[in-house]
Amino acid sequence: MERRTIFGGRLLPAALVLPQLALTFFFFLWPAAQAIYYSVERQDPFGLNSQFAGLENFSDLFSDPLYLDSVQRTAVFVVCVCALSMAVALLLAVCADRELRGRGVYRTLLIWPYAIAPAISAVLWILLMHPQIGLIGRWLNRVGIPWDYKLNSFQAMLIVVLASAWKQVSYNFIFFLAGLQSIPRTVIEAARMDGARGARRFRTIVMPLLAPTTFFLIVINIVYAAFDTFPTILALTQGGPGKATETLVVKVYRDGIVNLDLGSSSAQSVVLMLAVIALTMVQFRFIGRKAAP
């Protein structure tokens, strides 16, 4: 869509976009370019010299079983977090969409968790699930289920999935509820008159009309689970025990900031950037948000 009437002048609009462009350049584009540069360089072990290495860092990366493990682990983690948080949110949204007494209160009580930081979510889960001080953690041990997410890989994965999905439910709830509310009542009524019962009405009428919302949320949840859960994992398990909860972002952090392996971590950053760009394209291609000014 183009506007017909506009203001004249060239200097003023240039000055108006300048701050945004400058920040974008210095803190997005320049670092991204640096990451690409370092990803094709190879440094000596002392970090004194470097030379052009082509795609060597990338081929090393994709033949490194540790990296491929991390890719697989991240995929499992992302699928679990998305499925769990979206399923719970959809169930709650369907209930909250009905003409219930007190639904305003329910909605507020389900929306406020949007404000919980991923790191704080981890802290709450530690305080509940800690094998010594956590209420649930202690209880599990008392009834004979050995529970220690700091030693058991499966339990570590379970708790980071739960803490990450828990924090994201309210976001998904807000969108599912908005999606449900935008379905005209008359459509639902018509289906009811035709004799479609609850579950069937939901599957054949509501789900298709919710498809754009669902699709949008899948993309957003993938990005959330893959990237924004970093603080949750770092605070809960630091990626451990061993590498049991080391997702790709945790690995970039460990390799780059902790182990100072610049070449490999830059190559990993570039791979992640490509993944994010691909997701952005998918989002706009299929959801059809108008992108051009």
Binding site: L16, P19, I116, L124, W125, W166, S266, V276
Partner: protein
């Protein structure tokens, strides 16, 4: 049992369980914060807060272990960071959206796409190189370092652009007829018309700024610059002799400001979020 209740009880039940899932953990942590650390270590957490233990809040706010900030200072830094990011993003996004919507200038499309491609690029994927840029600018351990790099925002620019595109051409023609220049049009027309979007975005960005973890972890190593989120994860980290009631009190204090803003501005926030991102 009324008819409505007989028909709706499954929905009520699901919603009550859902609410409990979020309220109970926070309540447990609040109740725990008022109990003695010894009792917590023995696993004797009570669901009923001990009112005498509320003094822990005064303690954590003002006193700090050596090498750490007191909680009030961390809360101030978090508040400053959240407000600076929210206002900063809103100002530069309104200006850039205004420029690409209401003006024609060379390279306008290039400017737009430059902003657009950063849309979903989270800080997590450019950790290392951004750190290098930060130290080149001498922004490590400064308030500017905490905030300025997070102020660039493609999302907010796109949102305002969409809002501005819905302004009818007639409105602008009328304004120009009355002799309004670009600044007056922005101040007297556009900003009032988009007030609801501004409020919604403020909530979203305040929460975003308050909840940052990775960024402050990287750019500030000095405990004087610790935000509350950084501070509490540090407290958990030294697990051997943790005063768990203090950790719990700090967690409650860290939650209150963003939750209060979301609840108080819920109506605008939900509308702005769902309209803006779709």
């Amino acid at each position: 049992m009324t008819d409505a209740l007989r028909r709706d009880w499954p929905a009520h039940l699901v919603l009550l369980i859902g609410v409990a899932l979020f309220v109970l953990p926070v309540w447990l942590v609040f109740a725990g914060s008022t109990q003695s650390p010894a009792a917590i270590s023995r696993g004797e957490l009570s669901l009923v807060p001990d009112l005498g233990g509320l003094s822990v809040y005064r303690d954590v706010l003002t006193r700090a272990p050596p090498g750490a900030s007191p909680v009030w200072r961390m809360l101030m830094i978090s508040a400053g960071m959240a407000l600076a990011i929210a206002f900063g993003k809103i100002v530069i996004s309104v200006l850039s959206a205004y420029a690409v919507t209401f003006f024609r200038f060379p390279l306008r499309m290039l400017c737009f796409w430059t902003i657009f491609i950063t849309l979903m690029l989270p800080v997590e994927v450019r950790i290392i190189p951004t750190y290098a840029v930060m130290s080149d600018f001498h922004l490590i351990n400064t308030f500017g370092g905490l905030t300025v790099p997070l102020i660039a925002s493609a999302t907010a620019t796109l949102l305002f652009r969409q809002v501005f595109l819905t302004i009818p051409d007639e409105l602008m023609e009328a304004a120009r007829m009355d002799g309004a220049g670009p600044w007056r049009f922005l101040r007297d027309m556009l900003l009032p018309v988009s007030a609801a979007n501004l409020a919604a975005l403020f909530v979203i960005l305040f929460v975003y700024g308050w909840n940052q973890y990775l960024w402050p972890l990287i750019v500030s190593t000095d405990p004087k610059m610790d935000t509350i989120v950084i501070g509490i994860v540090k407290m958990i980290g030294t697990e051997t002799q943790t005063e768990w009631n203090q950790v719990m009190a700090t967690a409650v204090l860290a939650l209150i400001p963003p939750v209060a803003i979301v609840v108080l501005m819920q109506r605008w926030f939900v509308k702005g979020l769902t309209e803006g991102e779709k």
